[in-house]
Protein backbone atom coordinates (compact mmCIF):
# COMPACT_ATOMS: atom_id res chain seq x y z
CA UNK A 1 0.00 0.00 0.00
CA UNK A 2 2.77 2.39 0.96
CA UNK A 3 4.35 2.48 -2.47
CA UNK A 4 0.99 3.06 -4.15
CA UNK A 5 0.08 6.10 -2.05
CA UNK A 6 3.56 7.44 -2.76
CA UNK A 7 2.98 6.82 -6.46
CA UNK A 8 -0.37 8.59 -6.43
CA UNK A 9 1.08 11.51 -4.53
CA UNK A 10 3.82 11.82 -7.12
CA UNK A 11 1.32 11.84 -9.95
CA UNK A 12 -0.52 14.85 -8.54
CA UNK A 13 0.90 18.04 -10.08
CA UNK A 14 1.48 20.08 -6.85
CA UNK A 15 3.43 17.24 -5.23
CA UNK A 16 5.39 16.52 -8.36
CA UNK A 17 6.24 20.20 -8.72
CA UNK A 18 7.45 20.36 -5.12
CA UNK A 19 9.36 17.04 -5.15
CA UNK A 20 11.04 17.82 -8.49
CA UNK A 21 12.12 21.15 -7.03
CA UNK A 22 13.56 19.48 -3.96
CA UNK A 23 15.37 16.87 -6.05
CA UNK A 24 17.21 19.37 -8.28
CA UNK A 25 20.14 20.04 -5.87
CA UNK A 26 20.43 16.31 -5.10
CA UNK A 27 21.09 15.68 -8.79
CA UNK A 28 22.79 18.91 -9.79
CA UNK A 29 25.50 18.93 -7.08
CA UNK A 30 26.71 15.32 -7.71
CA UNK A 31 26.54 16.07 -11.44
CA UNK A 32 28.78 19.11 -11.06
CA UNK A 33 31.26 17.29 -8.78
CA UNK A 34 31.45 14.17 -10.95
CA UNK A 35 31.77 16.06 -14.23
CA UNK A 36 34.46 18.39 -12.85
CA UNK A 37 36.38 15.42 -11.40
CA UNK A 38 35.93 13.38 -14.58
CA UNK A 39 36.95 16.20 -16.91
CA UNK A 40 39.95 17.05 -14.70
CA UNK A 41 40.99 13.40 -14.64
CA UNK A 42 40.41 13.04 -18.35
CA UNK A 43 42.01 16.24 -19.60
CA UNK A 44 44.86 16.64 -17.08
CA UNK A 45 45.66 13.39 -15.30
CA UNK A 46 45.06 10.70 -17.92
CA UNK A 47 48.09 9.90 -20.13
CA UNK A 48 47.95 10.71 -23.84
CA UNK A 49 46.95 7.81 -26.05
CA UNK A 50 49.87 6.09 -27.77
CA UNK A 51 48.08 6.21 -31.13
CA UNK A 52 45.71 9.16 -30.98
CA UNK A 53 47.73 11.53 -28.77
CA UNK A 54 45.63 14.11 -26.97
CA UNK A 55 42.78 13.93 -29.48
CA UNK A 56 41.28 10.91 -27.72
CA UNK A 57 40.35 13.11 -24.74
CA UNK A 58 37.15 14.22 -26.47
CA UNK A 59 35.79 10.78 -25.53
CA UNK A 60 35.08 12.17 -22.04
CA UNK A 61 32.26 14.21 -23.56
CA UNK A 62 31.50 12.17 -26.65
CA UNK A 63 30.84 8.74 -25.10
CA UNK A 64 28.62 9.95 -22.22
CA UNK A 65 26.63 12.07 -24.69
CA UNK A 66 26.14 9.03 -26.94
CA UNK A 67 25.01 6.93 -23.96
CA UNK A 68 22.56 9.61 -22.80
CA UNK A 69 21.09 10.18 -26.23
CA UNK A 70 20.04 6.51 -26.23
CA UNK A 71 19.00 6.46 -22.58
CA UNK A 72 16.83 9.55 -23.06
CA UNK A 73 15.00 7.87 -25.94
CA UNK A 74 14.30 4.84 -23.75
CA UNK A 75 13.14 7.01 -20.84
CA UNK A 76 10.95 9.00 -23.22
CA UNK A 77 9.35 5.89 -24.73
CA UNK A 78 8.78 4.20 -21.35
CA UNK A 79 7.31 7.39 -19.89
CA UNK A 80 5.11 7.80 -22.97
CA UNK A 81 3.90 4.20 -22.69
CA UNK A 82 3.13 4.63 -18.97
CA UNK A 83 1.26 7.83 -19.78
CA UNK A 84 -0.71 6.18 -22.57
CA UNK A 85 -1.62 3.03 -20.64
CA UNK A 86 -2.36 4.44 -17.18
CA UNK A 87 -3.33 7.92 -18.39
CA UNK A 88 -0.84 9.60 -16.07
CA UNK A 89 -0.34 13.16 -17.30
CA UNK A 90 2.94 13.57 -15.47
CA UNK A 91 4.47 10.64 -17.35
CA UNK A 92 3.64 12.54 -20.55
CA UNK A 93 5.23 15.63 -19.00
CA UNK A 94 8.40 13.62 -18.33
CA UNK A 95 8.44 12.37 -21.93
CA UNK A 96 7.97 15.90 -23.23
CA UNK A 97 10.71 17.15 -20.91
CA UNK A 98 13.14 14.41 -21.93
CA UNK A 99 12.88 14.77 -25.73
CA UNK A 100 14.77 18.09 -26.11
CA UNK A 101 17.47 16.93 -23.66
CA UNK A 102 17.96 13.72 -25.62
CA UNK A 103 18.06 15.62 -28.90
CA UNK A 104 20.72 17.95 -27.47
CA UNK A 105 22.86 15.02 -26.34
CA UNK A 106 22.51 13.38 -29.77
CA UNK A 107 23.61 16.63 -31.40
CA UNK A 108 26.50 17.00 -28.90
CA UNK A 109 27.59 13.44 -29.67
CA UNK A 110 27.55 14.10 -33.42
CA UNK A 111 29.38 17.42 -33.05
CA UNK A 112 32.16 16.04 -30.80
CA UNK A 113 32.47 12.97 -33.02
CA UNK A 114 32.88 15.19 -36.04
CA UNK A 115 35.51 17.37 -34.29
CA UNK A 116 37.40 14.19 -33.36
CA UNK A 117 37.01 12.76 -36.85
CA UNK A 118 38.73 15.69 -38.56
CA UNK A 119 42.25 15.03 -37.15
CA UNK A 120 41.81 11.26 -36.80
CA UNK A 121 40.04 10.18 -39.98
CA UNK A 122 40.93 13.35 -41.91
CA UNK A 123 37.28 14.17 -42.55
CA UNK A 124 34.42 15.85 -40.67
CA UNK A 125 31.92 13.23 -41.66
CA UNK A 126 31.96 9.72 -43.05
CA UNK A 127 28.93 7.62 -43.82
CA UNK A 128 29.90 5.11 -41.21
CA UNK A 129 27.35 2.92 -39.43
CA UNK A 130 27.43 4.42 -35.96
CA UNK A 131 27.49 8.01 -37.20
CA UNK A 132 24.56 7.35 -39.48
CA UNK A 133 22.44 5.60 -36.86
CA UNK A 134 23.16 8.45 -34.42
CA UNK A 135 22.02 10.90 -37.10
CA UNK A 136 18.82 8.90 -37.63
CA UNK A 137 18.27 8.95 -33.85
CA UNK A 138 18.50 12.74 -33.98
CA UNK A 139 15.94 12.73 -36.81
CA UNK A 140 13.63 10.56 -34.69
CA UNK A 141 13.85 13.12 -31.88
CA UNK A 142 13.13 15.94 -34.32
CA UNK A 143 10.11 14.10 -35.73
CA UNK A 144 8.79 13.56 -32.21
CA UNK A 145 9.19 17.26 -31.41
CA UNK A 146 7.59 18.26 -34.72
CA UNK A 147 4.54 16.08 -34.06
CA UNK A 148 4.23 17.49 -30.56
CA UNK A 149 4.33 21.07 -31.80
CA UNK A 150 1.74 20.38 -34.51
CA UNK A 151 -1.05 19.97 -31.96
CA UNK A 152 -2.57 22.86 -30.03
CA UNK A 153 -4.33 20.58 -27.57
CA UNK A 154 -1.77 19.35 -25.05
CA UNK A 155 -3.63 16.11 -24.26
CA UNK A 156 -3.78 15.16 -27.93
CA UNK A 157 -0.13 16.10 -28.46
CA UNK A 158 0.76 13.87 -25.49
CA UNK A 159 -1.09 10.80 -26.74
CA UNK A 160 -0.17 11.14 -30.43
CA UNK A 161 3.52 11.67 -29.66
CA UNK A 162 3.40 8.73 -27.22
CA UNK A 163 2.32 6.40 -30.04
CA UNK A 164 5.16 7.73 -32.17
CA UNK A 165 7.70 7.26 -29.36
CA UNK A 166 6.61 3.64 -28.90
CA UNK A 167 6.74 2.90 -32.65
CA UNK A 168 10.16 4.57 -32.68
CA UNK A 169 11.58 2.56 -29.81
CA UNK A 170 10.59 -0.70 -31.51
CA UNK A 171 12.35 0.59 -34.61
CA UNK A 172 15.58 1.80 -32.98
CA UNK A 173 17.20 -1.67 -32.72
CA UNK A 174 16.13 -2.46 -36.30
CA UNK A 175 17.64 0.79 -37.56
CA UNK A 176 20.78 0.10 -35.56
CA UNK A 177 21.09 -3.41 -36.96
CA UNK A 178 20.34 -2.42 -40.54
CA UNK A 179 22.82 0.45 -40.49
CA UNK A 180 25.50 -1.78 -38.97
CA UNK A 181 24.88 -4.35 -41.62
CA UNK A 182 25.07 -1.62 -44.26
CA UNK A 183 28.52 -0.37 -43.32
CA UNK A 184 30.97 -0.36 -40.48
CA UNK A 185 34.17 1.64 -40.08
CA UNK A 186 33.77 2.98 -36.56
CA UNK A 187 36.15 1.52 -34.02
CA UNK A 188 34.62 -1.23 -31.88
CA UNK A 189 33.39 -0.71 -28.35
CA UNK A 190 36.29 -0.26 -25.92
CA UNK A 191 34.59 -0.25 -22.51
CA UNK A 192 31.93 -2.95 -22.62
CA UNK A 193 33.54 -5.95 -24.22
CA UNK A 194 34.64 -9.44 -23.41
CA UNK A 195 37.90 -9.73 -21.49
CA UNK A 196 37.51 -6.40 -19.69
CA UNK A 197 38.00 -2.85 -20.89
CA UNK A 198 40.85 -2.10 -23.30
CA UNK A 199 41.85 0.99 -21.35
CA UNK A 200 44.21 1.62 -18.43
CA UNK A 201 42.52 2.64 -15.16
CA UNK A 202 43.87 6.21 -15.38
CA UNK A 203 41.84 6.69 -18.57
CA UNK A 204 38.87 4.55 -17.57
CA UNK A 205 38.10 6.06 -14.14
CA UNK A 206 37.53 9.61 -15.43
CA UNK A 207 35.33 8.18 -18.18
CA UNK A 208 33.18 6.36 -15.64
CA UNK A 209 32.97 9.54 -13.54
CA UNK A 210 31.81 11.41 -16.63
CA UNK A 211 29.20 8.75 -17.43
CA UNK A 212 27.68 9.09 -13.97
CA UNK A 213 28.09 12.87 -13.98
CA UNK A 214 26.24 13.23 -17.28
CA UNK A 215 23.50 10.89 -16.09
CA UNK A 216 23.01 13.02 -12.96
CA UNK A 217 23.04 16.09 -15.19
CA UNK A 218 20.21 14.58 -17.21
CA UNK A 219 18.25 13.91 -14.01
CA UNK A 220 18.71 17.50 -12.82
CA UNK A 221 17.73 18.93 -16.22
CA UNK A 222 14.72 16.61 -16.39
CA UNK A 223 13.54 17.88 -12.98
CA UNK A 224 13.83 21.50 -14.13
CA UNK A 225 12.00 20.78 -17.38
CA UNK A 226 9.29 18.69 -15.71
CA UNK A 227 8.63 21.63 -13.39
CA UNK A 228 8.34 23.91 -16.42
CA UNK A 229 5.98 21.42 -18.11
CA UNK A 230 3.82 21.28 -14.96
CA UNK A 231 3.68 25.09 -14.88
CA UNK A 232 2.66 25.19 -18.54
CA UNK A 233 -0.05 22.58 -18.12
CA UNK A 234 -1.43 23.84 -14.81
CA UNK A 235 -1.16 27.56 -15.40
CA UNK A 236 -4.79 28.16 -14.45
CA UNK A 237 -4.87 25.80 -11.46
CA UNK A 238 -5.69 27.08 -7.99
CA UNK A 239 -2.74 25.50 -6.23
CA UNK A 240 -0.40 27.34 -8.57
CA UNK A 241 -2.12 30.69 -7.98
CA UNK A 242 -1.95 29.99 -4.24
CA UNK A 243 1.72 29.16 -4.55
CA UNK A 244 2.43 32.28 -6.59
CA UNK A 245 0.38 34.40 -4.16
CA UNK A 246 2.20 33.04 -1.12
CA UNK A 247 5.57 33.55 -2.73
CA UNK A 248 4.58 37.08 -3.73
CA UNK A 249 3.55 37.87 -0.15
CA UNK A 250 6.71 36.49 1.43
CA UNK A 251 8.81 38.41 -1.06
CA UNK A 252 7.03 41.69 -0.38
CA UNK A 253 7.28 41.05 3.37
CA UNK A 254 11.05 40.66 3.36
Amino acid sequence: MGTWTWFHKLSSPPHCYRIAGQLIPWFAIPAALLIVAGIYGGLVRAPADYQQGDAFRIIYVHAPAAWLSLMCYTVMAVAAAVGLVWRIKLAHALAAATAPIGASFALLCLATGSIWGKPMWGTWWTWDARLTSQLILLFLYLGYQALRSAYDDIGKADRASAVLAIVGVVNVPIIHFSVNWWNSLHQGSTVLRRGGPAMPASMLVPLILCFFGFTFLYAALACVRVRAEVLRRERNAHWLQDLAGRRGRTESAT
Binding site: L84, A146, L147, A150, I174, I175
Partner: protein, 229 residues
Protein backbone atom coordinates in the same frame (compact mmCIF):
# COMPACT_ATOMS: atom_id res chain seq x y z
CA UNK B 1 -25.62 -0.98 -41.43
CA UNK B 2 -24.24 -4.15 -42.94
CA UNK B 3 -20.66 -3.35 -41.91
CA UNK B 4 -21.57 -3.40 -38.22
CA UNK B 5 -23.30 -6.77 -38.17
CA UNK B 6 -21.16 -8.92 -40.48
CA UNK B 7 -18.11 -10.99 -39.47
CA UNK B 8 -14.87 -8.99 -38.95
CA UNK B 9 -13.06 -10.51 -41.93
CA UNK B 10 -16.00 -9.86 -44.24
CA UNK B 11 -16.16 -6.28 -42.95
CA UNK B 12 -12.48 -5.85 -43.78
CA UNK B 13 -13.19 -7.25 -47.25
CA UNK B 14 -16.00 -4.73 -47.73
CA UNK B 15 -13.69 -1.84 -46.75
CA UNK B 16 -11.07 -3.11 -49.19
CA UNK B 17 -13.59 -3.36 -52.04
CA UNK B 18 -15.02 0.06 -51.29
CA UNK B 19 -11.59 1.72 -51.32
CA UNK B 20 -10.61 0.04 -54.59
CA UNK B 21 -13.94 0.95 -56.23
CA UNK B 22 -13.57 4.58 -55.15
CA UNK B 23 -10.03 4.77 -56.48
CA UNK B 24 -10.94 3.33 -59.85
CA UNK B 25 -13.51 6.09 -60.21
CA UNK B 26 -10.89 8.71 -59.35
CA UNK B 27 -8.16 7.35 -61.55
CA UNK B 28 -5.67 10.18 -60.96
CA UNK B 29 -5.13 8.95 -57.39
CA UNK B 30 -3.43 5.92 -58.95
CA UNK B 31 -1.59 7.63 -61.79
CA UNK B 32 -0.19 10.69 -59.98
CA UNK B 33 2.30 8.80 -57.77
CA UNK B 34 3.59 6.86 -60.79
CA UNK B 35 4.08 10.03 -62.81
CA UNK B 36 5.82 11.58 -59.80
CA UNK B 37 8.06 8.51 -59.54
CA UNK B 38 9.07 8.78 -63.21
CA UNK B 39 9.69 12.52 -62.88
CA UNK B 40 11.91 12.21 -59.80
CA UNK B 41 13.90 9.48 -61.55
CA UNK B 42 14.30 11.82 -64.55
CA UNK B 43 15.80 14.49 -62.29
CA UNK B 44 18.84 12.37 -61.43
CA UNK B 45 20.47 12.12 -64.88
CA UNK B 46 19.82 15.85 -65.36
CA UNK B 47 21.40 16.70 -62.00
CA UNK B 48 24.30 14.25 -62.17
CA UNK B 49 25.75 13.43 -65.55
CA UNK B 50 24.27 11.24 -68.29
CA UNK B 51 27.40 9.06 -68.48
CA UNK B 52 26.08 5.45 -68.80
CA UNK B 53 28.62 3.95 -66.39
CA UNK B 54 27.73 6.45 -63.65
CA UNK B 55 24.00 5.96 -64.17
CA UNK B 56 24.29 2.17 -63.99
CA UNK B 57 26.13 2.58 -60.67
CA UNK B 58 23.44 4.73 -59.08
CA UNK B 59 20.45 2.95 -60.68
CA UNK B 60 19.45 0.93 -57.60
CA UNK B 61 19.64 3.97 -55.33
CA UNK B 62 17.71 6.20 -57.72
CA UNK B 63 14.89 3.69 -58.16
CA UNK B 64 14.57 3.27 -54.40
CA UNK B 65 14.73 6.92 -53.40
CA UNK B 66 12.20 7.84 -56.11
CA UNK B 67 9.89 4.98 -55.10
CA UNK B 68 10.00 5.95 -51.42
CA UNK B 69 9.36 9.63 -52.13
CA UNK B 70 6.48 8.77 -54.40
CA UNK B 71 4.83 6.48 -51.87
CA UNK B 72 5.36 9.17 -49.20
CA UNK B 73 3.40 11.52 -51.43
CA UNK B 74 0.62 8.97 -51.85
CA UNK B 75 0.37 8.34 -48.10
CA UNK B 76 -1.39 11.62 -47.56
CA UNK B 77 -4.43 10.36 -49.45
CA UNK B 78 -4.74 7.27 -47.24
CA UNK B 79 -7.19 8.77 -44.73
CA UNK B 80 -7.70 12.36 -45.93
CA UNK B 81 -10.98 11.94 -47.87
CA UNK B 82 -12.43 9.57 -45.27
CA UNK B 83 -11.77 12.05 -42.49
CA UNK B 84 -13.35 14.89 -44.42
CA UNK B 85 -16.63 13.08 -45.15
CA UNK B 86 -16.78 11.33 -41.76
CA UNK B 87 -16.33 7.77 -43.05
CA UNK B 88 -13.37 7.13 -40.77
CA UNK B 89 -15.41 8.13 -37.74
CA UNK B 90 -18.16 5.74 -38.83
CA UNK B 91 -15.58 2.96 -39.13
CA UNK B 92 -14.47 3.51 -35.53
CA UNK B 93 -18.11 3.31 -34.42
CA UNK B 94 -19.01 0.05 -36.20
CA UNK B 95 -17.82 -2.09 -33.31
CA UNK B 96 -15.62 -4.08 -35.68
CA UNK B 97 -11.92 -4.37 -34.75
CA UNK B 98 -10.57 -1.07 -36.01
CA UNK B 99 -7.07 -2.47 -36.55
CA UNK B 100 -8.46 -4.96 -39.07
CA UNK B 101 -10.46 -2.33 -40.95
CA UNK B 102 -7.42 -0.04 -41.11
CA UNK B 103 -5.29 -2.95 -42.31
CA UNK B 104 -7.81 -3.44 -45.13
CA UNK B 105 -7.55 0.26 -46.00
CA UNK B 106 -3.76 0.01 -45.98
CA UNK B 107 -3.82 -3.04 -48.25
CA UNK B 108 -6.08 -1.17 -50.65
CA UNK B 109 -3.70 1.77 -50.49
CA UNK B 110 -0.75 -0.49 -51.28
CA UNK B 111 -2.57 -2.00 -54.28
CA UNK B 112 -3.22 1.52 -55.56
CA UNK B 113 0.13 3.15 -54.83
CA UNK B 114 2.67 0.34 -54.37
CA UNK B 115 1.71 -2.07 -57.11
CA UNK B 116 1.95 0.54 -59.93
CA UNK B 117 5.47 1.33 -58.70
CA UNK B 118 6.37 -2.36 -58.86
CA UNK B 119 5.42 -2.28 -62.53
CA UNK B 120 7.12 1.05 -63.26
CA UNK B 121 10.40 0.31 -61.44
CA UNK B 122 11.92 -1.97 -64.15
CA UNK B 123 11.28 0.73 -66.76
CA UNK B 124 13.38 3.21 -64.78
CA UNK B 125 16.05 0.60 -63.99
CA UNK B 126 16.45 -0.27 -67.67
CA UNK B 127 16.53 3.42 -68.63
CA UNK B 128 19.46 3.74 -66.23
CA UNK B 129 21.26 0.94 -68.02
CA UNK B 130 20.73 -1.76 -65.41
CA UNK B 131 20.80 -5.40 -66.43
CA UNK B 132 17.29 -6.66 -67.24
CA UNK B 133 18.11 -9.95 -65.48
CA UNK B 134 17.82 -8.10 -62.15
CA UNK B 135 14.20 -7.14 -62.77
CA UNK B 136 12.66 -10.04 -60.87
CA UNK B 137 14.61 -9.19 -57.72
CA UNK B 138 13.94 -5.48 -58.19
CA UNK B 139 10.19 -6.01 -58.47
CA UNK B 140 10.07 -8.36 -55.48
CA UNK B 141 12.10 -5.94 -53.38
CA UNK B 142 9.97 -2.93 -54.39
CA UNK B 143 6.79 -4.89 -53.66
CA UNK B 144 8.01 -5.87 -50.17
CA UNK B 145 9.47 -2.43 -49.48
CA UNK B 146 6.45 -0.37 -50.52
CA UNK B 147 4.23 -2.71 -48.46
CA UNK B 148 6.31 -2.03 -45.33
CA UNK B 149 6.23 1.66 -46.15
CA UNK B 150 2.44 1.66 -46.51
CA UNK B 151 2.09 -0.07 -43.13
CA UNK B 152 4.48 2.22 -41.23
CA UNK B 153 3.11 5.19 -43.14
CA UNK B 154 -0.43 4.32 -42.07
CA UNK B 155 0.63 4.99 -38.47
CA UNK B 156 2.22 8.30 -39.47
CA UNK B 157 -0.80 9.33 -41.54
CA UNK B 158 -3.12 8.48 -38.64
CA UNK B 159 -1.00 10.52 -36.22
CA UNK B 160 -1.03 13.62 -38.41
CA UNK B 161 -4.79 13.52 -39.13
CA UNK B 162 -5.66 16.03 -36.46
CA UNK B 163 -2.73 18.36 -36.99
CA UNK B 164 -2.39 21.49 -39.07
CA UNK B 165 0.67 20.79 -41.23
CA UNK B 166 0.01 17.48 -42.89
CA UNK B 167 2.46 16.39 -45.54
CA UNK B 168 5.81 17.84 -44.41
CA UNK B 169 5.17 16.60 -40.88
CA UNK B 170 4.26 13.16 -42.22
CA UNK B 171 7.60 12.92 -44.04
CA UNK B 172 9.47 14.02 -40.91
CA UNK B 173 7.83 11.24 -38.90
CA UNK B 174 7.99 8.43 -41.40
CA UNK B 175 11.31 8.87 -43.23
CA UNK B 176 13.61 8.03 -40.26
CA UNK B 177 11.50 4.95 -39.52
CA UNK B 178 11.76 3.51 -43.02
CA UNK B 179 15.53 3.78 -43.45
CA UNK B 180 15.99 0.02 -42.85
CA UNK B 181 13.65 -0.62 -45.81
CA UNK B 182 15.75 1.65 -48.00
CA UNK B 183 18.99 -0.03 -46.89
CA UNK B 184 17.83 -3.62 -47.46
CA UNK B 185 15.86 -2.84 -50.62
CA UNK B 186 18.59 -0.87 -52.33
CA UNK B 187 21.18 -3.48 -51.32
CA UNK B 188 19.09 -6.35 -52.72
CA UNK B 189 18.63 -4.45 -55.97
CA UNK B 190 22.30 -3.50 -56.25
CA UNK B 191 23.40 -7.09 -55.58
CA UNK B 192 21.05 -8.41 -58.24
CA UNK B 193 22.22 -5.78 -60.74
CA UNK B 194 25.80 -6.94 -60.19
CA UNK B 195 24.73 -10.51 -60.84
CA UNK B 196 25.10 -11.67 -57.24
CA UNK B 197 22.64 -13.46 -54.97
CA UNK B 198 20.22 -11.03 -53.29
CA UNK B 199 18.62 -13.60 -51.02
CA UNK B 200 19.85 -12.18 -47.69
CA UNK B 201 18.44 -8.67 -47.93
CA UNK B 202 15.23 -10.01 -49.51
CA UNK B 203 14.61 -12.28 -46.52
CA UNK B 204 15.33 -9.34 -44.21
CA UNK B 205 12.79 -7.24 -46.12
CA UNK B 206 10.30 -10.08 -45.72
CA UNK B 207 11.01 -10.18 -41.98
CA UNK B 208 10.41 -6.42 -41.77
CA UNK B 209 7.12 -6.88 -43.61
CA UNK B 210 5.93 -9.57 -41.19
CA UNK B 211 6.92 -7.45 -38.20
CA UNK B 212 5.16 -4.40 -39.63
CA UNK B 213 2.11 -6.48 -40.53
CA UNK B 214 1.72 -7.74 -36.96
CA UNK B 215 2.37 -4.49 -35.08
CA UNK B 216 1.44 -1.42 -37.13
CA UNK B 217 -2.34 -2.03 -37.48
CA UNK B 218 -2.70 -1.73 -33.70
CA UNK B 219 -0.60 1.43 -33.60
CA UNK B 220 -2.68 2.87 -36.47
CA UNK B 221 -5.90 2.06 -34.65
CA UNK B 222 -4.64 3.75 -31.47
CA UNK B 223 -3.50 6.77 -33.49
CA UNK B 224 -6.81 7.11 -35.35
CA UNK B 225 -8.74 7.01 -32.08
CA UNK B 226 -6.48 9.70 -30.61
CA UNK B 227 -6.74 11.92 -33.69
CA UNK B 228 -10.52 11.68 -33.97
CA UNK B 229 -11.48 12.22 -30.35
Amino acid sequence: MILATTAPLRAAGLVLRRDLALAFRRWEQVTHPVVFFLMVATLFPLALNPKPSLLADVAAGVVWVSALLSSMLALETLYRADVEDGTLEQLTLTGQPLALLLLAKTVAHWILSGLPLVLAAPVVAIAFGADAAANAVLMTAIALGTAVLSLIGSVGAALTLGSRRGSVLLSLLVLPLIMPVLIFGARATALAMHGESAEGPLWLLGALLILALTLTPFASAAAVRISLE
